[in-house]
Structure formats: structure tokens, C-alpha cells
């Protein structure tokens, strides 16, 4: 479990509008495989900005980003899209499911895009993923007929379909009640512990953060603290 999942080196980012402003100031840290990491900080501290850089969606930064021994500096948008498809799963505050599709279809999409497995295998895998989140019986429902908590869990199933190295969450429990929050939290924990998948989540929720393995706190674009929770 000591292998590195992600390594950030001297990451800086500037906003130019309305005036030049440095959002991130030379942030460096490593994340091991199987780690469950929370990014916290006040609003405007740059934590979301950092997450989008780590997730390769934002390419306008200085410094180096290495995920799974791949240096992602200077890759083209299409190369990065391919990379995200295979290595990164996303969970956002809002679920962003395709409303015209069933839960199952939504979950299958990234795997169909990846195109390594046959359709049957992907379908089996999608059922497995939905089952993990307790949604197997909702598979054939259109996603706009599901409750908010269910939708978010479908979104997590979708993030898991390609067995990504890293799962990125942007306030993944931001819109959920405490019951669903704890379900989602438990799933993340399970993924990190049992499957060795890395979870990086931006959160406002102190309970969520305090229960994760490691908490990074950002303040004014700098890394303020980097705490590991004592293993019990």
C-alpha cells in the first residue's frame, strides 16, 4: 500500500480575471494508493480549484502532476479525456446523470466509452456496482425518477465502473441528508480499505473530513496542515 497514486509538485495557479490573482501557491503533496483523503478549507481557499487540477480537467496551472506514474503535464485534451476515462472516477455535488437514460445505462456509459470489455461484461459489472450501493432493484428506472440520495449513489456507481485508481469527489455529500451522507461515506471508506482505491474529496462537512484517513487543509492557496487520523 505504499505505492503512490498521485503526486503533486509545486502546483500554482493564477486567475487573470478580473485581475491577476494567485489562487494556489506551490502546493506539493503525495497520495498513496488506498488513501481516503479530505480536502478542506474556507470558501475561496482554492480547494476546489486544486481538485479540478488534480482531476486533469483544469490544465491551466504551473507545476507537475503525476498520477499512476503518468506525468500529465502537456498532454492534449483528448489524451487527458482518455486518461480520465480509465483512471479517474468523478462524484460531484450534483449527480449530473443523463435523465433520458436508466440508472444502468448511466453506470455503463464510461465503460462503453473505454470499450475494453464486451457489452455483456459491462452490464454485469454495472449491476455489481449498483448492488454495492444497494440500488440493484432500481437499475432499470430512469434516473429522473430516483430520489436525490439514490441519484447520488448511481453517480458513485458510475464513477466505479472502470475500477479507477482515484475517485475524486467535489462535495460528494453536499446535497445529501445525514443518513445518505453516512452511506456515501461508508462506501468511500470501503473502497479505500478493501479495494485499495484512492479517494480524494473536497468537503465542507467536518464529520466527513474527521473520519477520513487524512485531511489536507488549504488556506489562501497554501497548504495549511496535513493531518493523518490515528489508526484505531
Amino acid at each position: 500500500m505504499s505505492e503512490l497514486a498521485l503526486s503533486a509538485k509545486n502546483i500554482s495557479k493564477y486567475f487573470y480575471v478580473p485581475q491577476t490573482f494567485q489562487v494556489l501557491k506551490e502546493i506539493s503533496f503525495d497520495v498513496k494508493k488506498g488513501e481516503f483523503l479530505s480536502l478542506i478549507g474556507k470558501s475561496g481557499s482554492g480547494k476546489s480549484t486544486l481538485l479540478y487540477i488534480l482531476s486533469t480537467l483544469d490544465t491551466d496551472y504551473e507545476g507537475e502532476l503525476i498520477i499512476n506514474n503518468n506525468n500529465l503535464r502537456g498532454k492534449s485534451q483528448n489524451q487527458l479525456a482518455k486518461f480520465r476515462n480509465a483512471h479517474i472516477g468523478f462524484v460531484f455535488q450534483f449527480h449530473y446523470l443523463l435523465p433520458e437514460f436508466t440508472a444502468l445505462d448511466n453506470v455503463m456509459l464510461p465503460a462503453l466509452k473505454l470499450g475494453i470489455k464486451s457489452k455483456e461484461e459491462i452490464e454485469a459489472k454495472a449491476y455489481e456496482s449498483l448492488e454495492l450501493l444497494g440500488l440493484k432493484d432500481q437499475a432499470m428506472k430512469h434516473t429522473n425518477r430516483l430520489s436525490g440520495g439514490q441519484q447520488q449513489r448511481v453517480a458513485i456507481s458510475r464513477a466505479l465502473i472502470n475500477d479507477p485508481t482515484i475517485i475524486m469527489g467535489d462535495e460528494p455529500t453536499g446535497n445529501l441528508d445525514s443518513k445518505n451522507t453516512s452511506i456515501v461515506f461508508d462506501i468511500f471508506h470501503q473502497l479505500a480499505k478493501e479495494r485499495g482505491q484512492t479517494v480524494i474529496a473536497v468537503t465542507h462537512d467536518d464529520d466527513f473530513a474527521n473520519n477520513s484517513d487524512r485531511v489536507l487543509e488549504l488556506h489562501d492557496g497554501r497548504l495549511l496542515s496535513d493531518k493523518y487520523r490515528e489508526q484505531k
Binding site: 480537467l57 480520465r84 480509465a86 449530473y96 433520458e100 456509459l109 466509452k113 458510475r158
Partner: protein, 418 residues
């Protein structure tokens, strides 16, 4: 395999988009349908009009006419032989024409028949004559013709008002008169008419037919008799003709062919374009109008699709963002949205072909009783249908491509972060 699955996925998303916004889709489909059906209708109608116009014109005008033209102006003939120091003065110069008409016509008929583009040749002996009935005297043109060949070139039999056309062949005293001419002479079928030539030869004929082309210039002046009878009246031999009228396979090639024939035939070879430039110009102008109007309609339809696709892209921008975050690249996004507009184009196009045909048939049945017409003219060329569908697809493709390109450039960070 991965390539194929990928495109199936994109097509599936495209279908989901189309079916989720059924109203917009219908509007988009209808705009294509309308554009394509108008294209078909406009072109069908215009070429129908052209066809009618040409048919009417070619009822008196052959594709190619060969005749003995009058010699050029020779009033100053002596100036060529004398130098400048000699003053010549010619008073009251006359042109003496030694030969009239085409001598030894068989040779030229043979040349024409050997030319592959020439479909039919009709020899004619045309004489300016007076038609007389009692004290009534009207001048006109007596056409000595072979009824079968004349009909093959001019479809004269189609314009027969009463009587029989082919009987000319069997009756040396039979004559077919234009309707206006018969009326002016107060004559009917089976009446007698006296025809006299400028040389004073007079002959009695029995009216065996009356034609009506609705062209006053023809109906009021023309009469038809057997070609041998006309030769007889001019005291000419059996190979004498004044005109050779020929129709060719593609009448648009007449001018080119006339030029070629001019090399081997020592008489004037005149194409219909030369004889009647207005007809050519009118046909071309009508075609330009048809294409301009229908392409404009297609263009408007294109704007409609562009608008709707743009709306779709804006509506689905979050979905696009999440698809990109999940690893769909710009090419996939273009595929998704282009597929939608192409589907719209194909559905709209197919309906448009049917609707265009329907409108054409409908208009074809609208009564229009002017001249020889019964209904509005219409043509059904398959090429028009193919082109309409082709232009429709091109339009939707371009109209769909621009918004797709925009969609593919969406930055997911901007959208997801809000």
C-alpha cells in the same frame, strides 16, 4: 470493437436527446421537410413549364433546319475587281438567284441520317401561295411534307383539330389547313380550296384536316399537302426540297451539332438556339429562378436546424461537461450532436421527398386551360429528387456541425463549477 461500441454509445445518446425534446425535433424535421419538398416542387414545376414551352416552340421549330439562305449583300460587287482609280456606278442592282431550295436533297438526308445524334429528318417544300375561296384571297404558306416524318419532328398530328392527318399521304388533292386560315376562308372540312403560286400555277384541293396549335402565326398561315404535290406545283424534280428539318436526341446540343454539319453541308444549317434565342434565354432564366428559390428555402431550413441544435447544446451543456469529465473527447461530442442533425436531416428528407411528390401531383391536377394546356405542367425527374435529398443532407450537416463544434469545445470546469 471498441471503436464500434463507442459510436453506438454516441448514437444512443443522440437518440435520447432527440426523443426527449420531441417538439423541437418535429419543428426541425418539418423545416427540412418543407425545404426539400419545395425544392422538388419548384424544380418539377419550372421544368414542366420549360417542357411545355419547348414543346410548343418545337411544334413549329425543329432542332436543326437546313435551307438555302439568300446570298450575302452583293450590291458593290464591282469594287472588288476594279481599283480605287475607277469610279463605278451601279443603278438599281438586282440579286439574281439561280438556284432556289436544296438540290439533290437525298445526299444531305443521307448525311443527316448517318449522324448518330440525329433522330428524325423531315424534308419540306415550302411555297408562298394564295388561298382562294371565291373572291376571298389570303396569302399563306403551303408546306409540302411527308406526313409521318413531319409528325415525328413537329408532332403535328397531335394538334389536329378535325379530319385525318395521314390521309395526306394517300390523296394528292388533300390539304390540311390551319384553323385560323380555314376560318378566314370560311371553309370547313371536306370543302374545296384553290391554291395559286406566285408563278401562277393553280390547283384545287379538298380540305381533309384542320390543325390548331394555338399559335396564331401558325394557325393563320400554314397549310399542308403531300410533298410530291408541292414539287409538282413548282415544276421541280422529286429530290427537290426547300427545307430539311431535323430533331436530335438532346436538343441542347443543337448549336454544336449545327456547326459540325455546316462543314459537310453547303447550305445554311441553323440550330433552334440561333433561330429563337428568346426561348433559350427564358428556359435558362426559369431554371435559375427555380434553383435560387429552392436553395433559399433550404438555407432558411438550415438556419432553423442551426438554431434548434444550438438550443439543444445550451440545454445539454451540463451533460456535455459531465461526459467530457468522464472521458468522452471532443470527437465524441461532435458525433453525438452531428448524429442528431443528420437523423433530423434524413427523416425530414424522406418525408420531404414524399411531400414534394404529393404537392407535385396535386399541382399537376390543377386545371389550367390556356393554349393547349389542360392542367398545370409538371415533371418528375428522379435527378431532382436525388439532388433535393442531397442538398437537404448537406444543409443539415453544416447546420448541425457548427453547434456540435461549439459543444465539443465546452470546458467542463467552467460548467461544473458554475
Amino acid at each position: 470493437m471498441s471503436k464500434q461500441l463507442l459510436s453506438i454509445t454516441n448514437v444512443k445518446i443522440a437518440f435520447a436527446h432527440i426523443s426527449s425534446r420531441i417538439k423541437q425535433t418535429i419543428v426541425a424535421v418539418l423545416s427540412v421537410t418543407f425545404g426539400i419538398s419545395m425544392y422538388i416542387f419548384m424544380n418539377g414545376f419550372m421544368s414542366g413549364v420549360n417542357q411545355t414551352q419547348s414543346d410548343l416552340a418545337f411544334s413549329t421549330l425543329a432542332n436543326i433546319r437546313i435551307y438555302h439562305d439568300l446570298p450575302e449583300d452583293r450590291t458593290n460587287i464591282l469594287q472588288r475587281t476594279e481599283g480605287e482609280e475607277v469610279i463605278t456606278h451601279i443603278r438599281n442592282a438586282k440579286v439574281i438567284q439561280y438556284t432556289e431550295g436544296i438540290k439533290n436533297a437525298e445526299k444531305y438526308i443521307h448525311i443527316l441520317n448517318q449522324t448518330p445524334q440525329v433522330e428524325v429528318v423531315a424534308p419540306e417544300v415550302n411555297i408562298n401561295v394564295f388561298f382562294r375561296n371565291g373572291s376571298l384571297k389570303i396569302n399563306g404558306i403551303l408546306n409540302g411534307i411527308d406526313p409521318e416524318q413531319e409528325d415525328a419532328v413537329f408532332h403535328t398530328a397531335d394538334y389536329l383539330y378535325s379530319g385525318s392527318w395521314n390521309e395526306i399521304k394517300h390523296r394528292s388533292d388533300g390539304i390540311v389547313l390551319g384553323k385560323g386560315l380555314a376560318r378566314k376562308l370560311s371553309l370547313n372540312l371536306n370543302d374545296k380550296v384553290i391554291v395559286s403560286t406566285a408563278e401562277g400555277v393553280t390547283k384545287h384541293f379538298t380540305i381533309i384536316g384542320i390543325t390548331e396549335t394555338t399559335l396564331a402565326s401558325v394557325d393563320n398561315t400554314q397549310a399542308y399537302v403531300r410533298i410530291s404535290t408541292a414539287r409538282q406545283m413548282l415544276s421541280e424534280n422529286m429530290s427537290y426540297v426547300t427545307d430539311l428539318q431535323a430533331n436530335i436526341s438532346d436538343y441542347n446540343q443543337a448549336a454544336v451539332l449545327a456547326q459540325q454539319l455546316n462543314r459537310s453541308i453547303p447550305y445554311k444549317v441553323e440550330s433552334w438556339q440561333e433561330a429563337n434565342g428568346q426561348l433559350m434565354a427564358a428556359n435558362t432564366l426559369r431554371n435559375i429562378i427555380a434553383v435560387a428559390v429552392s436553395l433559399t428555402i433550404l438555407l432558411v431550413a438550415g438556419f432553423g436546424i442551426y438554431n434548434i441544435m444550438n438550443m439543444t447544446v445550451n440545454e445539454k451543456i451540463r451533460e456535455i461537461a459531465i461526459l467530457k469529465a468522464m472521458g468522452f473527447d471532443g470527437k465524441d461530442i461532435v458525433q453525438i450532436f452531428l448524429t442528431q442533425s443528420v437523423i433530423i436531416g434524413i427523416i425530414g428528407g424522406l418525408i420531404g421527398l414524399l411531400l414534394g411528390y404529393g404537392i407535385s401531383v396535386l399541382v399537376d391536377h390543377v386545371p389550367f386551360k390556356i393554349a393547349t394546356l389542360e392542367n398545370l405542367p409538371m415533371t418528375y425527374y428522379s435527378m431532382d429528387y436525388v439532388l433535393a435529398f442531397f442538398f437537404g443532407l448537406i444543409t443539415t450537416f453544416i447546420a448541425g456541425y457548427l453547434p456540435s463544434k461549439k459543444a465539443s469545445k465546452v470546458d467542463p470546469v467552467d460548467i461544473i463549477r458554475g
